[in-house]
Protein backbone atom coordinates (compact mmCIF):
# COMPACT_ATOMS: atom_id res chain seq x y z
CA UNK A 1 0.00 0.00 0.00
CA UNK A 2 2.85 2.27 0.88
CA UNK A 3 4.41 1.54 -2.48
CA UNK A 4 1.23 2.52 -4.29
CA UNK A 5 0.95 5.71 -2.28
CA UNK A 6 4.49 6.71 -3.07
CA UNK A 7 3.96 5.94 -6.77
CA UNK A 8 0.85 8.03 -6.68
CA UNK A 9 2.65 10.94 -5.16
CA UNK A 10 5.42 10.60 -7.67
CA UNK A 11 2.96 10.58 -10.53
CA UNK A 12 1.33 13.79 -9.38
CA UNK A 13 4.61 15.55 -9.05
CA UNK A 14 5.80 14.42 -12.47
CA UNK A 15 2.86 14.59 -14.86
CA UNK A 16 0.64 17.63 -15.03
CA UNK A 17 -1.78 15.65 -17.17
CA UNK A 18 -2.33 12.93 -14.55
CA UNK A 19 -5.78 13.10 -12.96
CA UNK A 20 -6.14 12.33 -9.28
CA UNK A 21 -8.16 9.14 -9.67
CA UNK A 22 -5.39 7.35 -11.57
CA UNK A 23 -2.26 5.76 -10.16
CA UNK A 24 -0.03 6.71 -13.05
CA UNK A 25 -0.09 7.83 -16.68
CA UNK A 26 -0.07 4.25 -17.93
CA UNK A 27 -3.31 3.48 -16.11
CA UNK A 28 -4.86 6.78 -17.16
CA UNK A 29 -3.98 6.36 -20.85
CA UNK A 30 -5.15 2.75 -20.80
CA UNK A 31 -8.49 3.85 -19.35
CA UNK A 32 -8.91 6.48 -22.08
CA UNK A 33 -8.04 4.04 -24.84
CA UNK A 34 -10.28 1.26 -23.51
CA UNK A 35 -13.07 3.83 -23.12
CA UNK A 36 -12.63 5.00 -26.70
CA UNK A 37 -12.62 1.41 -27.94
CA UNK A 38 -15.85 0.80 -26.01
CA UNK A 39 -17.41 3.62 -28.00
CA UNK A 40 -15.92 2.27 -31.23
CA UNK A 41 -17.30 -1.21 -30.49
CA UNK A 42 -20.79 0.30 -30.23
CA UNK A 43 -20.12 1.91 -33.61
CA UNK A 44 -18.97 -1.48 -34.97
CA UNK A 45 -22.28 -3.00 -33.82
CA UNK A 46 -24.22 -0.08 -35.29
CA UNK A 47 -22.61 -0.39 -38.73
CA UNK A 48 -22.49 -4.19 -38.29
CA UNK A 49 -26.29 -4.39 -38.21
CA UNK A 50 -26.42 -2.43 -41.47
CA UNK A 51 -23.84 -4.74 -43.05
CA UNK A 52 -25.97 -7.67 -41.89
CA UNK A 53 -29.08 -6.25 -43.59
CA UNK A 54 -27.02 -5.62 -46.71
CA UNK A 55 -25.60 -9.19 -46.72
CA UNK A 56 -29.07 -10.67 -46.32
CA UNK A 57 -30.74 -8.72 -49.11
CA UNK A 58 -27.80 -8.98 -51.45
CA UNK A 59 -27.74 -12.77 -51.04
CA UNK A 60 -31.48 -12.84 -51.84
CA UNK A 61 -31.46 -10.50 -54.83
CA UNK A 62 -27.94 -10.92 -56.16
CA UNK A 63 -28.71 -10.23 -59.81
CA UNK A 64 -30.79 -7.10 -59.14
CA UNK A 65 -28.16 -5.74 -56.78
CA UNK A 66 -25.44 -6.49 -59.32
CA UNK A 67 -27.30 -4.74 -62.15
CA UNK A 68 -28.19 -1.74 -59.96
CA UNK A 69 -24.61 -1.34 -58.68
CA UNK A 70 -23.31 -0.82 -62.23
CA UNK A 71 -24.55 2.78 -62.06
CA UNK A 72 -21.91 3.58 -59.43
CA UNK A 73 -18.64 5.12 -60.58
CA UNK A 74 -15.89 2.72 -59.43
CA UNK A 75 -13.22 5.30 -60.28
CA UNK A 76 -14.75 7.81 -57.84
CA UNK A 77 -14.96 5.12 -55.16
CA UNK A 78 -11.32 4.15 -55.74
CA UNK A 79 -10.14 7.76 -55.46
CA UNK A 80 -12.11 8.17 -52.23
CA UNK A 81 -10.56 5.00 -50.80
CA UNK A 82 -7.05 6.24 -51.64
CA UNK A 83 -7.89 9.59 -50.05
CA UNK A 84 -9.14 7.96 -46.83
CA UNK A 85 -6.15 5.59 -46.59
CA UNK A 86 -3.80 8.55 -47.01
CA UNK A 87 -5.73 10.52 -44.37
CA UNK A 88 -5.35 7.59 -41.98
CA UNK A 89 -1.60 7.86 -42.46
CA UNK A 90 -1.61 11.62 -41.79
CA UNK A 91 -3.71 11.15 -38.65
CA UNK A 92 -1.33 8.44 -37.40
CA UNK A 93 1.53 10.89 -38.07
CA UNK A 94 -0.27 13.63 -36.14
CA UNK A 95 -0.49 11.30 -33.12
CA UNK A 96 3.24 10.66 -33.46
CA UNK A 97 3.92 14.42 -33.56
CA UNK A 98 1.64 14.89 -30.54
CA UNK A 99 3.74 12.34 -28.62
CA UNK A 100 6.85 14.30 -29.61
CA UNK A 101 5.11 17.58 -28.67
CA UNK A 102 5.76 18.94 -32.15
CA UNK A 103 2.93 21.47 -32.44
CA UNK A 104 3.50 22.49 -36.06
CA UNK A 105 3.84 18.85 -37.10
CA UNK A 106 0.48 18.03 -35.53
CA UNK A 107 -1.20 21.06 -37.14
CA UNK A 108 0.25 20.24 -40.57
CA UNK A 109 -0.82 16.60 -40.42
CA UNK A 110 -4.32 17.39 -39.13
CA UNK A 111 -4.61 20.11 -41.80
CA UNK A 112 -3.82 17.57 -44.54
CA UNK A 113 -6.36 15.21 -42.96
CA UNK A 114 -8.99 17.96 -43.17
CA UNK A 115 -8.18 18.49 -46.86
CA UNK A 116 -8.55 14.72 -47.44
CA UNK A 117 -11.87 14.66 -45.58
CA UNK A 118 -13.08 17.64 -47.62
CA UNK A 119 -12.00 15.93 -50.86
CA UNK A 120 -13.90 12.79 -49.83
CA UNK A 121 -17.06 14.79 -49.16
CA UNK A 122 -16.82 16.75 -52.43
CA UNK A 123 -16.44 13.51 -54.44
CA UNK A 124 -19.35 12.01 -52.52
CA UNK A 125 -21.41 15.12 -53.29
CA UNK A 126 -20.86 14.70 -57.03
CA UNK A 127 -21.69 11.00 -56.79
CA UNK A 128 -24.93 11.70 -54.91
CA UNK A 129 -25.83 14.54 -57.26
CA UNK A 130 -25.60 12.19 -60.26
CA UNK A 131 -27.81 9.55 -58.57
CA UNK A 132 -30.37 12.18 -57.59
CA UNK A 133 -30.37 13.47 -61.16
CA UNK A 134 -31.23 9.97 -62.39
CA UNK A 135 -34.02 9.56 -59.79
CA UNK A 136 -32.14 6.74 -58.08
CA UNK A 137 -33.03 7.74 -54.53
CA UNK A 138 -35.64 5.65 -52.69
CA UNK A 139 -39.10 7.14 -52.81
CA UNK A 140 -42.17 7.51 -55.05
CA UNK A 141 -40.18 8.79 -58.05
CA UNK A 142 -37.61 5.99 -57.93
CA UNK A 143 -36.67 4.50 -61.30
CA UNK A 144 -38.53 7.06 -63.38
CA UNK A 145 -35.50 6.84 -65.71
CA UNK A 146 -35.45 3.04 -66.16
CA UNK A 147 -32.38 3.07 -68.42
CA UNK A 148 -30.22 3.73 -65.34
CA UNK A 149 -31.43 0.54 -63.64
CA UNK A 150 -29.60 -1.66 -66.19
CA UNK A 151 -32.55 -4.05 -66.26
CA UNK A 152 -32.75 -4.56 -62.48
CA UNK A 153 -36.17 -4.93 -60.87
CA UNK A 154 -37.12 -1.40 -59.70
CA UNK A 155 -38.16 -2.72 -56.26
CA UNK A 156 -34.89 -4.47 -55.53
CA UNK A 157 -32.83 -1.75 -57.15
CA UNK A 158 -34.64 0.60 -54.76
CA UNK A 159 -33.66 -1.68 -51.88
CA UNK A 160 -30.05 -1.54 -53.07
CA UNK A 161 -30.04 2.25 -53.33
CA UNK A 162 -31.79 2.52 -49.97
CA UNK A 163 -28.89 0.60 -48.45
CA UNK A 164 -26.36 2.52 -50.54
CA UNK A 165 -27.61 5.92 -49.42
CA UNK A 166 -28.24 4.72 -45.86
CA UNK A 167 -24.81 3.21 -45.34
CA UNK A 168 -22.66 5.67 -47.31
CA UNK A 169 -24.78 8.52 -45.92
CA UNK A 170 -24.16 7.46 -42.33
CA UNK A 171 -20.49 6.99 -43.17
CA UNK A 172 -20.45 10.48 -44.69
CA UNK A 173 -22.05 11.83 -41.51
CA UNK A 174 -19.19 10.23 -39.56
CA UNK A 175 -16.68 11.92 -41.88
CA UNK A 176 -18.44 15.24 -41.25
CA UNK A 177 -18.37 14.71 -37.45
CA UNK A 178 -14.70 13.73 -37.80
CA UNK A 179 -14.00 17.03 -39.59
CA UNK A 180 -15.67 18.99 -36.78
CA UNK A 181 -13.78 17.10 -34.06
CA UNK A 182 -10.45 17.42 -35.90
CA UNK A 183 -11.18 21.13 -36.38
CA UNK A 184 -11.76 21.50 -32.63
CA UNK A 185 -8.55 19.58 -31.90
CA UNK A 186 -6.63 21.81 -34.32
CA UNK A 187 -7.98 24.90 -32.57
CA UNK A 188 -6.72 23.50 -29.25
CA UNK A 189 -3.28 22.87 -30.74
CA UNK A 190 -3.25 26.28 -32.40
CA UNK A 191 -3.97 27.97 -29.04
CA UNK A 192 -1.28 25.85 -27.35
CA UNK A 193 -3.87 24.47 -24.96
CA UNK A 194 -2.26 22.30 -22.24
CA UNK A 195 -5.14 19.87 -22.71
CA UNK A 196 -3.48 18.68 -25.92
CA UNK A 197 0.12 19.80 -25.60
CA UNK A 198 0.74 18.18 -22.19
CA UNK A 199 -1.10 14.97 -23.02
CA UNK A 200 -1.12 13.27 -26.41
CA UNK A 201 -4.27 11.25 -25.59
CA UNK A 202 -6.88 13.70 -27.02
CA UNK A 203 -5.06 13.57 -30.37
CA UNK A 204 -4.80 9.77 -30.09
CA UNK A 205 -8.54 9.39 -29.41
CA UNK A 206 -9.54 11.60 -32.33
CA UNK A 207 -7.12 9.56 -34.44
CA UNK A 208 -8.80 6.31 -33.34
CA UNK A 209 -12.16 7.72 -34.42
CA UNK A 210 -10.80 8.73 -37.80
CA UNK A 211 -9.25 5.29 -38.39
CA UNK A 212 -12.63 3.77 -37.61
CA UNK A 213 -14.20 5.92 -40.34
CA UNK A 214 -11.54 4.58 -42.71
CA UNK A 215 -12.25 1.02 -41.51
CA UNK A 216 -15.95 1.25 -42.38
CA UNK A 217 -15.13 2.52 -45.87
CA UNK A 218 -12.66 -0.36 -46.43
CA UNK A 219 -15.68 -2.70 -46.30
CA UNK A 220 -18.20 -0.37 -47.93
CA UNK A 221 -16.10 0.12 -51.06
CA UNK A 222 -15.88 -3.52 -52.27
CA UNK A 223 -19.44 -4.28 -51.12
CA UNK A 224 -21.07 -1.34 -52.88
CA UNK A 225 -18.81 -0.66 -55.87
CA UNK A 226 -17.06 -3.94 -56.77
CA UNK A 227 -19.78 -6.58 -56.88
CA UNK A 228 -18.88 -9.81 -58.70
CA UNK A 229 -21.24 -10.99 -61.45
CA UNK A 230 -23.66 -13.56 -59.98
Amino acid sequence: MAAIASDHGHGHGHDEALHHQFEDMEQQNDSYIVGMWTFLVTEVMFFGALFLIYTLYRSMYQLDFYLAHKVLDTRMGMINTFVLLFSSFTVAMSVRFAQLQNRMGVLAMLGITQICAGTFMVIKYFEYQEKFGHHLYPGPGFGSSPSYLNGASPNFAQLYFGLYFGMTGLHGLHVLIGMIVIGYLMAKWWRNSPMVTKDYIPTELVGLYWHFVDLVWIFLFPLMYLMPKP
Binding site: G11, H14, D15, D24, M25, E26, N29, D30, I33, V34, W37, T38, V41, V44, M45, G48, L52, T55, L56, S59, M60, Y61, Q62, M78, T81, F82, L85, F86, S88, F89, V91, A92, M93, R96, Q99, L100, Q101, N102, R103, M104, G105, N155, K198, Y200, E204, G207, L208, H211, D214, L215, I218, F219, F221, P222, L223, L226, M227, P228, K229, P230
Partner: protein
Protein backbone atom coordinates in the same frame (compact mmCIF):
# COMPACT_ATOMS: atom_id res chain seq x y z
CA UNK B 1 10.05 22.59 -31.20
CA UNK B 2 10.38 18.90 -30.37
CA UNK B 3 10.98 18.72 -26.64
CA UNK B 4 10.79 15.78 -24.26
CA UNK B 5 8.63 13.12 -25.86
CA UNK B 6 5.50 12.51 -23.78
CA UNK B 7 5.91 8.78 -24.01
CA UNK B 8 9.58 8.30 -23.26
CA UNK B 9 8.72 8.43 -19.58
CA UNK B 10 9.80 4.91 -18.75
CA UNK B 11 9.23 5.51 -15.03
CA UNK B 12 5.54 5.19 -15.77
CA UNK B 13 5.97 1.87 -17.50
CA UNK B 14 6.40 3.11 -21.08
CA UNK B 15 2.68 3.69 -21.43
CA UNK B 16 2.74 4.71 -25.06
CA UNK B 17 4.87 3.72 -27.96
CA UNK B 18 5.99 6.16 -30.63
CA UNK B 19 5.66 4.30 -33.90
CA UNK B 20 8.42 4.72 -36.46
CA UNK B 21 7.13 7.01 -39.26
CA UNK B 22 8.42 4.59 -41.89
CA UNK B 23 6.27 1.83 -40.40
CA UNK B 24 3.25 4.12 -40.84
CA UNK B 25 4.31 5.10 -44.35
CA UNK B 26 4.89 1.53 -45.54
CA UNK B 27 1.64 0.46 -43.91
CA UNK B 28 -0.15 3.09 -45.98
CA UNK B 29 1.60 1.90 -49.17
CA UNK B 30 0.74 -1.72 -48.32
CA UNK B 31 -2.93 -0.76 -47.81
CA UNK B 32 -2.98 1.07 -51.13
CA UNK B 33 -1.43 -1.97 -52.79
CA UNK B 34 -4.15 -4.15 -51.24
CA UNK B 35 -6.74 -1.69 -52.57
CA UNK B 36 -5.39 -2.20 -56.10
CA UNK B 37 -5.46 -5.98 -55.48
CA UNK B 38 -9.11 -5.62 -54.37
CA UNK B 39 -9.94 -3.96 -57.68
CA UNK B 40 -8.03 -6.54 -59.77
CA UNK B 41 -9.64 -9.42 -57.84
CA UNK B 42 -13.10 -7.95 -58.49
CA UNK B 43 -12.44 -8.16 -62.25
CA UNK B 44 -11.27 -11.78 -61.97
CA UNK B 45 -13.59 -14.81 -61.79
CA UNK B 46 -12.38 -17.35 -59.22
CA UNK B 47 -15.00 -19.93 -60.18
CA UNK B 48 -18.27 -18.89 -58.61
CA UNK B 49 -19.86 -15.86 -57.02
CA UNK B 50 -19.43 -17.15 -53.45
CA UNK B 51 -15.65 -17.56 -53.84
CA UNK B 52 -15.46 -14.14 -55.55
CA UNK B 53 -17.26 -12.55 -52.60
CA UNK B 54 -15.17 -14.42 -50.04
CA UNK B 55 -11.94 -13.27 -51.76
CA UNK B 56 -13.14 -9.62 -51.76
CA UNK B 57 -14.06 -9.80 -48.07
CA UNK B 58 -10.81 -11.57 -47.14
CA UNK B 59 -8.75 -8.80 -48.73
CA UNK B 60 -10.90 -6.17 -46.98
CA UNK B 61 -10.40 -8.01 -43.67
CA UNK B 62 -6.61 -8.08 -44.16
CA UNK B 63 -6.73 -4.31 -44.82
CA UNK B 64 -8.85 -3.79 -41.69
CA UNK B 65 -6.40 -5.81 -39.57
CA UNK B 66 -3.48 -3.63 -40.73
CA UNK B 67 -5.42 -0.44 -39.98
CA UNK B 68 -6.37 -1.70 -36.50
CA UNK B 69 -3.00 -3.25 -35.66
CA UNK B 70 -0.67 -0.50 -36.87
CA UNK B 71 -2.58 2.76 -37.51
CA UNK B 72 -4.83 2.36 -34.46
CA UNK B 73 -1.82 1.28 -32.41
CA UNK B 74 -3.37 -1.92 -31.03
CA UNK B 75 0.02 -3.55 -31.68
CA UNK B 76 1.45 -1.59 -28.72
CA UNK B 77 -1.75 -1.32 -26.68
CA UNK B 78 -2.27 -3.00 -23.30
CA UNK B 79 -3.62 -6.54 -23.05
CA UNK B 80 -6.91 -5.13 -21.75
CA UNK B 81 -7.33 -2.96 -24.85
CA UNK B 82 -6.43 -5.91 -27.09
CA UNK B 83 -9.02 -8.16 -25.43
CA UNK B 84 -11.60 -5.39 -25.80
CA UNK B 85 -10.90 -4.98 -29.52
CA UNK B 86 -10.97 -8.73 -30.23
CA UNK B 87 -14.20 -9.14 -28.22
CA UNK B 88 -15.84 -6.26 -30.07
CA UNK B 89 -15.20 -7.73 -33.49
CA UNK B 90 -15.93 -11.23 -32.14
CA UNK B 91 -19.44 -10.12 -31.13
CA UNK B 92 -19.90 -8.64 -34.61
CA UNK B 93 -18.97 -12.04 -36.06
CA UNK B 94 -21.51 -13.71 -33.74
CA UNK B 95 -24.21 -11.30 -34.90
CA UNK B 96 -23.79 -12.59 -38.44
CA UNK B 97 -25.01 -15.93 -37.05
CA UNK B 98 -28.49 -14.42 -37.48
CA UNK B 99 -28.08 -15.27 -41.18
CA UNK B 100 -28.29 -18.91 -40.09
CA UNK B 101 -31.98 -18.28 -39.43
CA UNK B 102 -32.58 -17.32 -43.06
CA UNK B 103 -30.44 -20.19 -44.33
CA UNK B 104 -32.42 -22.80 -42.37
CA UNK B 105 -35.97 -21.56 -42.86
CA UNK B 106 -36.67 -24.38 -45.30
CA UNK B 107 -36.46 -26.77 -42.32
CA UNK B 108 -39.19 -24.88 -40.44
CA UNK B 109 -41.82 -23.98 -43.01
CA UNK B 110 -43.94 -20.98 -42.12
CA UNK B 111 -46.73 -19.67 -44.30
CA UNK B 112 -45.53 -16.71 -46.32
CA UNK B 113 -41.84 -17.44 -45.71
CA UNK B 114 -41.46 -20.44 -48.04
CA UNK B 115 -38.07 -20.90 -49.66
CA UNK B 116 -39.20 -23.43 -52.28
CA UNK B 117 -41.26 -20.88 -54.22
CA UNK B 118 -39.49 -19.69 -57.38
CA UNK B 119 -37.98 -16.21 -57.11
CA UNK B 120 -38.58 -16.09 -53.37
CA UNK B 121 -35.56 -16.10 -51.12
CA UNK B 122 -37.57 -17.03 -48.06
CA UNK B 123 -38.33 -13.48 -47.11
CA UNK B 124 -41.57 -11.86 -46.03
CA UNK B 125 -40.75 -9.39 -48.78
CA UNK B 126 -42.41 -11.04 -51.82
CA UNK B 127 -40.72 -11.11 -55.19
CA UNK B 128 -43.82 -9.56 -56.78
CA UNK B 129 -44.48 -5.99 -55.85
CA UNK B 130 -47.11 -4.94 -54.95
CA UNK B 131 -47.83 -8.27 -53.22
CA UNK B 132 -50.38 -10.47 -54.94
CA UNK B 133 -51.53 -11.97 -51.66
CA UNK B 134 -53.82 -10.12 -49.31
CA UNK B 135 -52.06 -8.73 -46.23
CA UNK B 136 -53.81 -11.13 -43.83
CA UNK B 137 -52.50 -14.08 -45.84
CA UNK B 138 -48.94 -12.71 -45.88
CA UNK B 139 -48.93 -12.06 -42.15
CA UNK B 140 -49.28 -15.66 -40.94
CA UNK B 141 -45.82 -16.08 -39.50
CA UNK B 142 -46.71 -18.91 -37.15
CA UNK B 143 -48.09 -22.39 -37.38
CA UNK B 144 -50.08 -24.37 -34.85
CA UNK B 145 -47.99 -26.66 -32.63
CA UNK B 146 -48.80 -30.21 -31.61
Amino acid sequence: MASTPLSSDSKHGGHSHIINPWVLFFNMLWLMFLLVITFIASEFDFGNVIINNVVAMLIATVKAVFVIWIFMGVMHASKLAKIWVVTGFGVLFLMFGILGDYATRQYEPVSGWETNVPNNGGSAFPREWPPQKKPEQVGENFRPRG
